[in-house]
């Protein structure tokens, strides 16, 4: 991963009361020389990788279960991926879906069950043809 530049999106779980504005202001308040762009889901942060990691650690410390993040391939406002230039790009719909999922993941993190065993869920099996035939004959 490039140490030169890291662009990271921070997404707030819909279960959280935190607003993108509060999150962006908090990141600004860290005083690091990062580009912070408020978005509808949270914010985009861009800086050298080491700086972004420090910001990530601080955000995690304050909001451990309700802010999620991943890196973004393109720099902020890159015309190659800018929505204003071309319209939505392929990954957009997935982000929308994942944003909704975050609500459950937040719940999962808050109620994590360490040490519990989770058996592999069984695959649904079809009934043997002969059994099915018998059912058909009865009816």
């Amino acid at each position: 991963m490039s140490e030169m530049r890291e662009t990271r999106l921070f997404m707030i779980s819909p279960r959280s009361m935190l607003t993108p504005d509060q999150l962006s202001r908090m990141v600004h308040s860290f005083g690091e020389s990062a580009i912070v762009k408020e978005t509808c889901y949270g914010c985009l942060v861009e800086a050298p990788a080491a700086v972004v990691r420090q910001i990530l650690a601080k955000v995690r410390e304050t909001y451990p279960n309700e802010v999620f993040s991943k890196v973004r391939a393109y720099p902020c406002s890159d015309p190659r991926r800018c929505r204003a230039q071309h319209g939505t790009r392929p990954g957009y719909a997935q982000l929308e879906e994942e944003w909704e999922l975050l609500s459950r993941i937040q719940y999962g993190l808050e109620n994590i069950r360490d040490g519990d065993e989770f058996p592999e869920p069984e695959d649904r099996k079809r009934i043997p043809v002969n059994d099915f035939k018998k059912i058909c004959e009865v009816h």
Partner: protein
């Protein structure tokens, strides 16, 4: 450890892998490497003809170019992965990879590597999410 995630651009998997102490191998990193390469001018992703040709390592010439190009991007990540997490039963708009055949091939390539792999189901409710997160955490913490 380097953990390959599938779907390779998933925010949830990327976050959890990192949160529990490992390095996610994601689509974003692979594409960032390309888009930051200023010597190549093939926007939007800087995937080049050379990349698509390199995809021949994973699939023959009779396979559509889009699949070979995708495998040229994800293939090297799978090659260096030490573990993998695969989210099954994703809702169908999931995955910027976009091509089902490529997705199936990616899962097969992971299987062939023989690395520790966790299959998790896309959670449908809060209880399933608890299981999803707990299993993922256990798997990641168990990686040595």
């Amino acid at each position: 450890m380097k953990v390959f995630i599938d779907p390779p651009n998933s925010l949830v998997l990327f976050d959890l892998v990192e949160r529990f102490g490992h390095e996610p191998l994601s689509a974003m990193a692979a594409i960032q490497e390309r888009v930051d390469n200023l010597e190549v001018d093939m926007p939007p992703m800087n995937v080049t003809l050379d990349d698509v040709v390199k995809g021949l390592k994973y699939a023959g010439v009779e396979v559509p170019s889009g699949i070979r190009g995708r495998l040229a991007v994800w293939g090297p990540l799978i090659d260096q992965a030490e573990a993998a997490i695969i989210m099954d039963d994703c809702p169908y708009s999931f995955g910027c990879v976009g091509c089902e055949r490529s997705n199936i091939m990616v899962q097969y390539l992971i299987k062939r590597r023989g690395i520790p792999t966790l299959h998790v189901r896309y959670p449908e409710d809060d209880q399933q999410a608890v299981e999803f997160v707990s299993r993922t955490k256990q798997f990641l913490e168990g990686l040595e």
